[in-house]
């Protein structure tokens, strides 16, 4: 089990993974402060 969340940071990479792994994307717009 992962101990920290591993986020993608590029949309094109996330889309490619989503297609390859047949999963939806959770897109989180956050305030880095």
């Amino acid at each position: 089990m992962a101990k920290t969340m591993i986020w993608e940071t590029k949309m094109d990479v996330a889309l490619a993974r989503a297609k390859a792994e047949n999963k939806p994307i959770l897109l989180d717009f956050f305030n880095p402060g």
Partner: protein, 150 residues
């Protein structure tokens, strides 16, 4: 979200297993404009073509985030007319997270999915009856109110 929800092991496991997590700053262009971002956190469920299916704005605790993400996954199936897949996810929300804020919408959408897959109105009436019995003050009970007459 970083202090409470994302470090939760149930949340982390759910997201890593079921979704591709993508995080960008609220002002990152062109995504901020493309998705009309006005506040944070804004969480959006996208399909593998980048099409939006579900959105929430504001903090969600772990016990609300997981059913909310499940609702987004269910809507992605529903919008793609994969009703059996949508029903499977909606049932999971209703059974495993019945007290969550996502549950009433899941009951409503389950009725709609069943109607669309069978073309019979009875599931819509059953959805209203379940909403009235379990979530009488929910906006989704109000939205289902006409179905009592079916």
């Amino acid at each position: 979200m970083d202090a409470v929800t994302y470090p939760d092991e149930r949340v982390m496991e759910f997201i890593q297993k079921n979704m591709i997590p993508l995080r960008v700053a609220f002002d990152a262009q062109p995504l901020s404009t493309d998705f009309n971002i006005k506040w944070t956190p804004t969480l959006i469920t996208l399909d593998s073509n980048g099409k939006e299916h579900h959105r929430t704005v504001g903090f969600l605790p772990p016990e609300e985030l997981i059913p909310s993400l499940l609702l987004g996954i269910a809507k992605s199936h529903y919008n793609g007319e994969r009703f059996n897949e949508a029903l499977s996810v909606l049932d999971k929300i209703i059974v495993e997270y019945p007290k969550s804020d996502s549950a009433p919408e899941a009951v409503y959408l389950r009725g709609v999915c069943k109607y669309k897959s069978t073309h019979k109105p009875q599931p819509l009436k059953e959805a209203y009856e379940q909403l009235q019995a379990n979530y009488s003050s929910s906006e989704w009970t109000k939205r289902a109110y006409p179905y009592r007459l079916l």
